[in-house]
């Protein structure tokens, strides 16, 4: 880690710093409820997809709120709610060492194989 600073997910923005900001963990009740990241699986979806974030007083309420905020138009059949400060995120400062090396490794893509037409989800 280049900066030594810890990061978490917040509002789907990728990475927010954990130090020097209130996360609600292990602290007395705050006027603002803790933030939850919401993942919804659609009827034909194979996996849960991040759809956004919301505030809730506790885990149960987070699922209820997610139902009201993110599945009003028949989008989902399953909801995951995760406390945003419990998600470990990569640091934007590490973008180059983490991701750039994969850019020119064309041989890591399975593009040299023929995939049979009847294999789905590839």
């Amino acid at each position: 880690m280049t900066t030594g600073q810890k990061f978490s997910a917040g509002g789907g923005h990728g990475a927010i710093p954990l130090e020097g900001v209130s996360t609600g963990l292990g602290e007395p009740p705050q006027p603002e409820w803790p933030l939850y990241e919401i993942f919804v699986r659609g009827k034909r979806g194979l996996n849960h997809v991040h759809v956004g974030s919301l505030h809730a007083a506790d885990d149960e309420m987070a699922v209820r709120h997610a139902r009201d905020v993110y599945t009003r138009r028949n989008e989902g059949v399953s909801i995951w709610a995760v406390r945003a400060d419990l998600i470990v995120a990569s640091s934007p400062d590490e973008k180059d060492p983490l991701f750039d090396p994969a850019g020119d490794k064309v041989y890591r893509h399975p593009t040299f194989y023929d995939i049979p037409a009847n294999v789905p989800h590839m």
Partner: protein, 306 residues
């Protein structure tokens, strides 16, 4: 546009797979009972069926309007949306019930000017005068604070859930289908209110104080939910409706359970009022203000298309 924008744009596409059926009403408003056989079953009096549907429909319509007043005013954005969702569920029930009333007895629908495109259920909602509404006074009352709203919603949805569960076996297939749909919705309403009731009771000193005050405000009106009228007695006899008086024991058990979870006792307060006044068209002062706001736009444009 960079990769991030592309990712975000596709989130809902990924969930829905390009299927537009999530739009509950499509892109147009059609006859809510389209394709449904609205023949009146043998042994059922059409006028009584219409009168009964007006009662249940008006309860849902007026309460939906009241709850919708929380929009942009709830303690948190999330509860704003939750209360608006509940109001919309009830509005949907009102639409179907008023359409059923109009199909069972067309004489209940107000006369509209020649060429008006207003469908019968809209005419019932927006062009009836106060005395023609058959909702309980219970649903007209001002919202009060969040605690009062939660108490009122808990008692109402506990009662309505028990009612709809029985109504699902109505001899009228239309009412039976409307009730079966409503059971799922109102189960969630009761769950929402019950959770908040227990949360407020066990929260801070202030939240408990407000909940107790809210309970004392709403409690005297609780008895009105189970007061029956001749229409409901007849509906029960002809087996298309439910006499609310028979639900008392079942609803009490649910309410007592939530009270116990919240470590609260039933308030020692006598029931207010004497009879089912709202059911015979006698409403409280608040009703006039509510109707004025709810009906003003539709009445200003009786020939308007929406």
């Amino acid at each position: 546009m960079d990769d991030l924008d592309l990712d975000h744009e596709s989130v809902y596409d990924g969930l829905l797979g390009g299927d537009s059926s999530q739009w509950a009403f499509g892109t147009d408003f059609e006859d809510p009972l389209a394709g449904v056989d609205t023949m009146i079953p043998a042994g059922v009096d059409g006028a009584a069926l219409a009168a009964y549907c007006l009662m249940l429909g008006d309860d849902a319509l007026i309460y939906a309007h009241r709850l919708s007043e929380w929009t942009s005013n709830a303690p948190d954005l999330e509860d704003d949306i939750a209360l608006a969702n509940i109001a919309l569920d009830l509005l949907g029930q009102a639409r179907l019930l008023l359409a059923r009333a109009a199909a069972a007895d067309a004489s209940v629908v107000p006369q509209m000017p020649e060429g008006s495109p207003v469908p019968p259920e809209d005419a019932l909602a927006f062009f009836r005068d106060e005395h023609a509404f058959r909702n309980m006074g219970y649903v007209e009352a001002l919202n009060g604070d969040f605690a009062v709203t939660i108490v009122r919603l808990l008692l109402f949805s506990s009662h309505r859930l028990a009612l709809l569960q029985r109504l699902a076996t109505s001899v009228d297939p239309v009412l039976s289908a409307i009730a079966a749909k409503g059971v799922k919705e109102v189960t969630y309403h009761r769950d929402y209110a019950g959770r908040w009731f227990v949360t407020l009771a066990g929260g801070t000193e202030e939240s408990r104080r407000r909940l107790v005050a809210g309970l004392r405000t709403v409690w005297p009106t609780y008895a009105e939910l189970s007061r029956s009228t001749q229409v409901e007695t007849l509906a029960s006899e002809q087996r298309f409706g439910v006499d609310p008086a028979v639900l008392t024991e079942e609803v009490d058990a649910v309410v007592d359970h939530v009270l116990a979870m919240a470590a609260l006792e039933r308030p020692d307060l006598p029931p207010s009022g004497t009879g089912p006044m709202g059911r015979i068209g006698r409403h409280t002062e608040e009703m006039g203000h509510l109707l004025a706001e709810m009906q003003v736009v539709a009445r200003a444009h009786p020939l308007g298309k929406w």
